[in-house]
Amino acid sequence: MKGFLASMYVGLQIESNWTKKWVWLLYLAAYPIGSFLAVIILYGVFGQKTGLLPYALYGTIFYYSLSMVFFDMAFSVHDDREHYQTLKYIFLSSTSYRTYLCGRAATRYLIALAGIAINLCWLVPVLHLPFHPNWAYLIAGAVLGYLVAAGLGLAMASVFLLTIKLDVDVVDALFGGMFVLSGALFPPTAFPAVFARIAELVPMSPFIELMRRAVSGQILTSFLSDLSTFQLLNRVALSAAVLFALGSVLVAFGSRKAQQKGYIDVTTAF
């Protein structure tokens, strides 16, 4: 637990310590805007008639929150090994590497959620978004969503433990691809049936739909509309359990393999 909190602390310091507190708050609020600006232009200006703006905006925002967890975990390995040269010392400590990654990413996630909350304060009135939050679903969904993203992030981290050169493009492509397929941006039901099938299999899509409903208080499109919100929650819980367990196994395997190959403290300068 102490290790987890200390890891959250590292995450916070790395995120915030580079500037004054008020500048950072501004940054916190401004940072997520990049992720949804295109959505507002796409649906709010050009595609007004579709009425899909709330669906796509909420979808994108919550996908963004998961991406923060995923990218943080994936890139921590490389940053700590190559840039800070602390990876080996973290490995040798009593805190497990998984705990460390989870702690750091948890900070990132909370920061992302705070940024989303700040932005919703103006997005909801300005864009007339439906907003009838169900707090119980929101909080449960947020926790489970973190576990989903952490499971994927740990899997990615295990790959990077065994890769000396960081390939940012692969991670971007992977997560970008899932973004398109997950139905965050457009309802897959608008396309041939295969798309909806694929979208349902993307691990983030039930989470995103759950969060849409929990915030808006409505079922916005027919995607996953055959499931009740409670059933959706169960599905998110199931994928959280499976993915987090899988991620944990993979990161343990990756650590052992890295220990065998001598990759825990290797730098590209070597």
Partner: protein, 334 residues
């Protein structure tokens, strides 16, 4: 009671794509007792870091075994890790945006330490290394020497039983090196169940700190003994430099004959005074009395005399050099 470290027949092979497998360690064995500072001395690529990495659970061996405080590093690494600290020199490790204090506190938390205990140890050791006043400085504002001191404090704060130091004074100025060495020496004596394994390029460092030194080259241990023993083993003769007021070649011949087989005398001149200077390599230290008597018998008056102490560097160069020759004889370059 178990020893601090037992290394048995350790080998490590690195497989690299497109290259022949590289044998970094080829059967290394030694052990280290509590209370000892044990030195691994060797040239670049000898296998020092590889050995340290295996002992500190960062790397798995290809074969052989290592036990730290009685626990196997391969199977029981989770039990080993809380008992050890690793400090590598020549790196700029640490979160640059954290202050010295924050950085050290954070690592103490990774070991689950109570914050008040951690804080008081951090204060204690920062004062010892003379960095208490810099505790609020950001890591990336520190000089190399200061960073290395913080790195050392990080290793000590968790109160390990075994401290692994991989070239702890690499790239650090003389003053900081002196401080680091003296802290390491004091630390070992602080509690009975403590020991240090140190790798170094610097002979003087090994000579000054280590109770025992293993000389390693090409993944093999060539010698393992106390520094004084190593110096002696390689060269058991006693060496003296004697300046006299006068001595010629004929007299030298007479004295050499008198001293007998195995005692060599070389006549030269002192660089400053230009007086005759004799370098004597004697079988026994006690032979010096006979030599002085013989000189007096030839009417030479002693101006100056000193004993020449072999350095660890001499021992090292001889040993490593000899090893090279052996290998070339066995396996001609293809």
């Amino acid at each position: 009671m178990h020893t601090a470290i037992q290394v048995e027949n350790l080998t490590r092979v690195f497989n690299q794509r497109g290259k022949a497998p590289f044998h970094a360690l080829r059967g290394v064995s030694f052990d280290v007792s509590y209370g000892e500072i044990f030195g691994l001395l060797g040239p670049n690529g000898a296998g020092k870091t590889t050995t340290i990495k295996i002992m500190s659970t960062l790397l798995l061996p290809t074969s052989g075994s290592v036990a730290v405080a009685g626990f196997d590093v391969e199977k029981d690494y989770a039990r080993v890790r809380p008992l050890i600290s690793l400090i590598s020199g020549g790196e700029t490790s640490g979160y640059g945006i954290l202050t010295v204090e924050e950085q050290l506190w954070m690592f103490s938390q990774f070991y689950g330490m109570e914050t008040p205990v951690a804080r008081s140890r951090i204060e204690e050791y920062l004062k010892v290394v003379g960095m208490w006043d810099s505790r609020r400085q950001q890591m990336n504002r520190l000089s190399t020497g200061m960073r290395q001191k913080v790195n050392l404090v990080r290793g000590l704060v968790t109160d390990p039983k075994v401290l692994f130091l991989d070239e702890p004074t690499l790239g650090v100025d003389v003053e900081a090196s002196v401080i680091i060495r003296s802290i390491v020496r004091d630390w070992v004596q602080g509690k009975p169940e403590r020991s240090v394994i140190l790798t170094t390029h610097y002979m003087a460092e090994a000579d000054e700190l280590c109770s025992r030194v293993a000389i390693i080259n090409h993944g093999l241990i060539l010698a393992n003994a106390a520094p004084s023993q190593l110096k002696q083993d390689l060269d058991s003769r006693a060496h003296y430099e004697i300046t006299v007021d006068r001595l010629d070649g004929e007299q030298l011949g007479l004295i050499t004959a008198f001293m007998g087989e195995g005692n060599d005398l070389v006549l030269g001149a002192d660089k400053v005074t230009n007086s005759p200077m004799l370098v004597a390599h004697l079988m026994h230290e006690s032979d010096i009395a006979r030599l002085i008597a013989a000189l007096a018998g030839q009417g030479a008056t002693l101006e100056y005399m000193r004993k020449l102490e072999p350095t660890l560097e001499d021992a090292f160069l001889k040993m490593v050099g000899r090893r090279f020759e052996d290998e070339e004889a066995v396996s001609p370059v293809s």
